[in-house]
Symmetry: C2
Subunit: 368 residues, 2 copies
């Protein structure tokens, strides 16, 4: 087997779940149950714009809220796009962590915003740089991924979260906290959500893509009821309702107790992969600083050396590694001359075995 690993191409590209983590049989059973049950005709008919009501209620309960503060989309990227459409007009400024989720950066730019990256430290966004940015810009919102950040793996400390919420209220901008990885904690202690600190200026985004299946495309946003109403109106105008049977299957997945057993299985599967990633970085890239996540899908490193990303991608390819262009995670810089991702490598570990991870990081570190 190690012979196979040594010669095969290793993909450190997108953050996809492992194939063995997709509970096909359980989802099939849930869908079948839904379509034989009392709501079968409901989940096949028009209606439930803004999301299948029982799922909105269930998510609401999980957050201690009512369904009026919950909206479901066809994936959370869909809701990011709708939020951007509502919040942004051309010329607006959006702040993100630097680096941040590449698709989010592109979404905000497509909706007309200038996207400024605030450097991310190992314990969350750099607050001095954020305050510096707030002297220059009046952002429409700041987009953050406080838990097991994509791409950096960083979890924001509670102290920084408190300060961030305070700054948002003081400077009157929204916080979009995107928490799709939060539930996938393999160790350590959970930190409060931004909305737990103060929900006034916070929209929380999440999804079941990493917890059940990406292709169900069931994402959600938690927001004040009046904002949910505006999102729902825009959603109705553009797609009517999100796909219903798959949402009903998610409800059934919880009701059957499958969610908890599946989550335990995911943690058991992914925890050793995270451990292998951290161990391999320490082994093959000693002294390179990086965030050691306690969960999620990603670890990232800034490779030592001087070459740029074009060379780095080519060298990686020659070594049988496929990487995502690190620059795509970097928005516009706040200060000239700061990092733009030329040596930034994201390592999504969930869909690789520990042996593949070790081999992949060994190759990454090896000289050409």
């Amino acid at each position: 087997m190690s012979g196979t690993v040594e010669t095969e191409q290793i993909l450190f590209t997108r953050g996809v779940p492992a194939a063995e983590a997709l509970p096909a049989k359980l989802i099939g059973d849930c869908l079948h149950t839904v379509l034989s049950g009392p709501d079968a005709k409901v989940v096949l008919q028009y209606g439930h714009n803004g999301g299948y009501l029982p799922l909105r209620k269930l998510i609401g309960e999980q957050y201690g809220l009512t369904e009026n503060e919950v909206i479901i989309g066809n994936g959370s990227l869909h809701l990011q796009d709708l939020l951007a459409a509502l919040f942004l007009k051309p010329g607006d400024t959006v702040l993100v962590e630097q680096p941040s989720y590449d698709r989010a950066i592109r979404t905000f730019r497509r909706r007309g915003a200038t996207v400024i990256g605030i450097p991310l430290d190992l314990d969350g966004v750099n607050l001095e740089k954020l305050e510096l940015a707030l002297e220059q810009y009046k952002p429409a919102f700041m987009y953050v991924i406080p838990d097991f950040q994509n791409p950096a793996g960083v979890t924001m400390s509670e102290a920084k979260r408190r300060k961030l919420v305070e700054l948002a209220e003081k400077h009157d901008f929204w916080l979009l906290e995107d928490v799709p990885y939060r539930t996938l904690r393999y160790g350590g202690e959970s930190v409060p959500l931004l909305r737990d600190i103060s929900p006034k200026r916070v929209v929380t985004l999440s999804s079941f893509s990493k917890l059940i299946s990406p292709a169900l495309r069931v994402g959600y946003a938690i927001a004040p009821a009046d904002l949910v109403t505006r999102l729902r109106d825009l959603m109705e105008e553009t797609i009517l309702a999100p796909v219903l049977p798959t949402q009903a299957a998610v409800v059934e997945f919880f009701k059957s107790g499958y969610f908890d057993t599946n989550l335990a299985y995911l943690k058991e599967l992914y925890a050793p992969r995270l451990a292998a990633t951290i161990a391999a970085i320490k082994k093959y890239l000693p002294g390179v600083p990086f965030a050691e996540p306690e969960g999620g899908f990603f670890v990232s490193v800034n490779l030592p050396g001087k070459g740029n990303m074009v060379e780095l991608l080519k060298q990686a390819k020659d070594k049988g590694l496929v990487l995502t262009d690190g620059r795509s995670f970097f928005a516009d810089v706040l200060e000239e001359g700061t990092d733009t991702g030329e040596r930034f490598v994201r390592l999504p570990f969930c869909a690789l075995t520990p042996a593949q991870i070790d081999e992949g990081i060994k190759r990454l570190a090896s000289p050409i």
Copy 2:
């Protein structure tokens, strides 16, 4: 039973399928088959942006095309919105039939267009008025529903279709033909699609909402491959991929032979409802001209008399009828003083029994 019909409220509002027309068991079986089958992991994972490949192939075959000319969306409204985003910039002009699908009019307006309605005759769009419009406007596209039009029930004659395609090529604008009702023909002979006449300037939109279930939200567009690529890129940026398991269920629905038996059942269910609608209009509103459709979901009338829509809706409510505001189907007028839908009533008949239809149209015609 007739006692019940006489007192109950009758809803002539949205074009929803009858509850008994939703094949819950068959869809449940299809979903279960898919999730126990060889593609189970595929339809739960990331990928298939632009739509589930086997469904794109299947639809391609139905139109004598390849999958490269097919894109799947979360409903066809979703694709209308993406097409509008690609085709339109603020200040552009879009032409529609007058009346037309209310949500389409709103979509094009939201994307920045001025939407001009070209009067619809009983055999399709009025070509003299269209030519008059083309002297004044250079439209980005014209949106038409050539079969069993929503809301008017009109089917465009073949002669008019030929002339329309010719005008689109001559004046260099796109035709969006929306054909969600086309397959639901209860009598008479099919007329060629616009794309059958010449596909060069035609995008064809359709969906399985009226043929299987609306809440699956499986719609599609047929377009030249380069336009499909652009749509797919925009779709990926906004939602990644459309929901996959439900698309796979549609493929299974065809492969199992369910589609044909279900379609036969739908026609058997809906044909008497259409007949009842036509008969009741002739009985209670004699002499009022209206298109007699041979399929679809809608018959519409312009009520005689002088009152406006606000009064008409109020009077209808007093008579236990719920109508959609006729004005919502009317875009901006081409010529001052022409009809704006003040007496326009759409009668969606599929979700009502013949007895409810007869009673409803009787009430509609009755004096206050």
